[in-house]
């Protein structure tokens, strides 16, 4: 690729993105590949070739629906793009034969999130049916009923009825979606079948009493390109995603104006602490010493979180663009991506993005002839959670042990090799190009008073659809878990949602209607964190959960300061005792005392926040602790059995002798 110029970029900006109506997009990210997306990709290629079709089979990143991996998006035969989930290699030929060749959808794989559409602008071509109630048993019956009804009216060969995999509506009885308009009916009963066919399918009238009017609460800003562009192609990013237009917009202004735009947007650090991004950049910019550095923190060590991995794998150029804008704003010529070594695919794709950008003249000296010089490198993490803390991260990039150091001085004053350094999270940086392109005021239109914009959450645990969710700040936890992710697995009752990983806390059922924002979560004793959200049902023992997170922090403590090193270990001993039913009544008071000491006296965020899971479970579920203490070992054993062997030390002992 020959080097780009500003004029090239300007020309790209005015050219509308090419509309593609014919494609098969296979979502190839780590999650998808784990589920067999590589095989699916190959199967599509050979099936399309065998059928002598010209439909391109493309590689894209992940849309975020990791529960349905491998996910494939198909647009062909005049139909709007359709998502298919659970597409193992053997399903690929079916899709090619049915969808590509005869415009028919296949059963049990279609994902069609309810769009909230209220008009039947085009004639109905397909009906999607799914029973979202308990047991999900009636799908086939309703498919049959619709087919019979259509036959009676002589429409059966024009309109297809397919069973769906997911319609974005949960616990609303039988759901029917009419394609291509996307009108969705919920709680459909047997007598409604004839009405729907007569009035909606034939008469193109919307039945208001059945209509699903709620719209999807998701807003995709960070994930805007994830799943729709090829993460390994720069032309794709440039032509179809307005790539590097944010950079162009930034370069047309002074660095101060760029920072001002960020200030208007109200963007705060998405790594967890929520420090205003514009302020961080200003603090770095006003330092006299040069050169300055900017770092992208991709050390997503928080177990259960995978949004940074997903963004880096699905849209690496947008993070790089954000990093470049940050570099321009603070006057830095060097950038670093600090990425976990456990994410080889992310590293590979960012490396490729860097090479492509360098080749296109987007990195290097005098970028686009504007006099701005910038280059970026990758540094790998090596499996230390504490390296997500900024001073520890800097030590790690410098090639040392990742021990944190006391602040101040803050990295913005003295950071990497003593230079002023701004460290931003992957998600923060992915927001930046969109803000520059569409304006800070547009971004600030989403969110709450104190917390603007959107946030990506990785919702996992005992949830039906474990996936990435991007919602405006201020959306309630209940809406995220139930409306977007379909509620609790096996329709059990929800007990709590854990946010913020090992530094966060649990939020019990009764507080799930709290709107998500940095402050509200803090008031509940948890934190926003990087965005991991773990759903727990009534069978999960909170003592066990607290022990799990605390064990994580104890393992990850770097050992530099005593409160964290000793306090954590002592707490773990106490928790272990309690969870084996050998606790004493005064243990709870002791736990609280140690928690306080750690919060006040620890050197870095890891130690200060490590007690959070313990404190928040004590706050909301202290009766569980008491039950363990009062119930003794027999109660503990009963709980361990209920959790299915969650007490490895005991369960494993006989197995060892067997194996040896």
């Amino acid at each position: 690729m020959k080097p780009l110029t500003l004029d090239d970029l300007a020309a790209l900006a005015s050219r509308p993105a090419p509309v593609t109506t014919d494609f098969v997009r296979v979502q190839l990210d780590t999650g998808g590949i784990a589920a067999g997306a590589e095989e699916t990709f190959a199967a599509f290629r050979s099936a399309v070739a065998a059928a002598a079709l010209s439909t391109p089979v493309l590689r894209v990143g992940s849309h975020g629906r990791s529960w349905a991996d491998p996910v494939v998006e198909v647009a062909a035969a005049g139909l709007p793009p359709v998502l298919y989930g659970g597409v193992k290699a053997d399903v690929a030929p079916q899709i090619v034969a049915a969808h590509l060749q005869s415009g028919r959808l296949i059963d049990d794989h279609v994902i069609a999130p309810a769009s909230g559409a209220a008009e039947l602008a085009a004639p109905v071509t397909h009906l999607l049916v799914l029973d979202t109630g308990v047991g999900e048993a009636k799908t086939k019956f309703f498919q049959f009923s619709f087919v019979e009804e259509l036959k009676r009216r002589g429409l059966a060969d024009q309109i297809q009825v397919a069973r769906a995999l997911d319609l974005g509506v949960y616990d609303e009885g039988v759901v029917v979606t009419l394609l291509p308009a996307g009108v969705t009916y919920t709680n459909v009963l047997a007598p409604d079948v004839a009405r729907i066919v007569e009035q909606s399918v034939q008469g193109r009238q919307v039945l208001d009493d059945l209509l699903w009017k709620r719209t999807d609460p998701q807003v995709r800003i960070v994930l805007r390109n994830c799943g729709s562009i090829d993460p390994e192609s720069l032309p794709d990013y440039l032509e179809r995603a307005h790539g590097y237009q944010g950079l162009r917009a930034a370069l047309a202004r002074t660095p101060e104006q760029v920072i001002e735009e960020l200030k208007v947007s109200g963007l705060r650090g998405r790594g967890g602490a929520g420090f205003p991004t514009w302020l961080k950049w200003t603090n770095t910019r006003i330092q006299k010493s040069e050169p300055r550095c900017v770092i992208c923190n991709g050390d997503e060590g928080d177990p259960g979180a995978f949004m940074d991995r997903s963004v880096l794998e699905s849209d690496p150029h947008s993070v790089l663009e954000g990093l470049m804008i940050a570099g321009y704003a603070i006057g830095a010529a060097h950038g670093y991506f600090y990425i976990r070594a456990e994410y080889p695919k992310a590293v590979e794709r960012v490396e490729r993005a860097l090479a492509q950008a360098r080749e296109a003249g987007l990195l290097g000296r005098n970028i686009l002839g504007t006099g701005f010089s910038f280059d970026a490198k990758i540094r790998l993490g090596a499996g230390a959670f504490v390296c997500g803390e900024e001073t520890a991260l800097i030590a790690s990039i410098e090639g040392k042990r990742g021990s944190p150091s006391p602040r101040p001085p803050y990295p913005s004053v003295r950071g990497l090799w003593g230079r002023p350094t701004a460290i931003n999270n992957v998600e923060t940086l992915a927001n930046v190009p969109a803000i520059l392109l569409r304006g800070g005021a547009w971004y600030a239109g989403y969110g709450t008073e104190t917390t603007k914009g959107t946030k990506v959450f990785a919702v996992t645990g005992k949830v039906k659809n474990a996936q990435l969710v991007e919602v405006p700040m201020g959306t309630t936890l209940r809406s995220i878990v139930f409306d977007v992710c379909g509620g609790v697995l096996e329709d059990k009752d929800i007990k709590a949602v854990q946010t913020g990983g090992p530094s966060g806390g649990v939020i019990p059922d009764k507080h799930l209607d709290t709107p998500v924002a940095y402050e509200t979560l803090q008031q509940l004793g948890s934190i926003m964190g990087s965005g991991g959200m773990i759903v727990m049902d009534t069978t999960d023992s909170m003592v066990d959960v607290a022990k799990f997170f605390l064990k994580f922090c104890v393992d990850e403590s770097c050992g530099k300061c005593a409160p964290c090193r000793i306090g954590g270990f002592q707490m773990l001993q106490i928790l272990d005792r309690i969870s084996r039913g050998r606790g004493a009544a005064e243990d709870i008071a002791a736990l609280r005392r140690i928690c306080q000491a750690m919060q006040k006296a620890s050197l870095c965020g890891l130690g200060q926040t490590a007690p959070n899971p313990v404190l928040s479970t004590l706050r909301y579920f202290d009766e569980e602790y008491k039950a363990y203490i009062e119930g003794g070992p027999s109660y503990a054993r009963k709980m361990a059995r209920a959790a299915g062997g969650a007490e490895p030390a005991r369960a494993l002992a006989p197995a060892t002798t067997e194996g040896a």
Binding site: G31, A34, S66, G301, S310, A382, G383, G461, A466, G645
Partner: protein, 226 residues
């Protein structure tokens, strides 16, 4: 002069020539000769020392070859990252990618090459979980123990691995066939619980699936890269 003839003449077992390759057997043989004669005949001593010198020479040559091999590798990695500040961790990554762990000889060579004290290199290696000081097994099984996997039964998978292989977290089977590891999170929470077996990630694993993975790994080419 054939020493075995001597040895046999001196009373050692003529059929058993294991002493040629085994120091313990050699000593036993010499002792027996001494017991029989009251002294060790000149010729036996000469022949033994000649053979030992030959063997020593061979060992030295092999070692020198190994060392130049190591030196060449280390120099290559250092050259790749020379001129970059704070390159130690990246070099260690390259070394671990090559060997599967960080062997002590390589760390020593790296210390010489970079002019960094060995203690500082070990300080870094031992801090980060990712770097290993023990050679991995021929096949690596990694169980994800992120929160999502933990809640969905990673402990049960580990228990099953222990039943099947007799080893637990961070251990290698005595025959060096399998190494079992536990990691924090591989970011496949949508597919939890997850197990990585020889670089291939399996999602929604049940304890009953473990035996199948192990059999598949065994069946795969024995030279499978760790």
């Amino acid at each position: 002069m054939n020493p075995s003839a001597h040895a046999s003449g001196a009373g050692a077992d003529p059929a058993n020539e294991s002493w040629r390759n085994d120091e313990g057997a050699l000593l036993t043989m010499l002792e027996e000769v001494e017991r029989k004669h009251g002294y060790i005949p000149q010729q036996v001593g000469d022949e033994v020392s000649r053979l030992l010198e030959l063997k020593l020479e061979r060992i030295k040559r092999a070692q020198a070859k190994l060392e130049t091999g190591i030196r060449r590798d280390v120099q290559r990695h250092v050259a790749r990252w020379s001129g970059e500040e704070g390159n130690l961790i990246m070099i260690l990554h390259a070394i671990q990618n090559q060997y599967g762990y960080v062997p002590r000889e390589v760390a020593m060579e790296l210390s010489r090459e970079l002019g960094v004290r060995l203690a500082r290199i070990y300080e870094v290696i031992t801090f980060y979980h990712y770097f290993k000081l023990q050679p991995p097994g021929k096949h690596n099984v990694t169980v994800c123990n992120g929160t999502a996997c933990y809640l969905k039964g990673a402990a049960g998978l580990l228990a099953e691995l222990r039943t099947q292989l007799g080893v637990g977290e961070g251990q290698t089977t005595p025959d060096r066939e399998f190494h079992v590891d536990v990691v924090r999170c591989i970011g496949c929470c949508g597919m939890s619980p997850a197990v990585v077996c020889d670089g291939k990630t399996h999602g929604r694993v049940k304890p009953a699936d473990i035996a199948g993975f192990l059999a598949a790994a065994r069946a795969a080419s024995p030279e499978a890269k760790p």
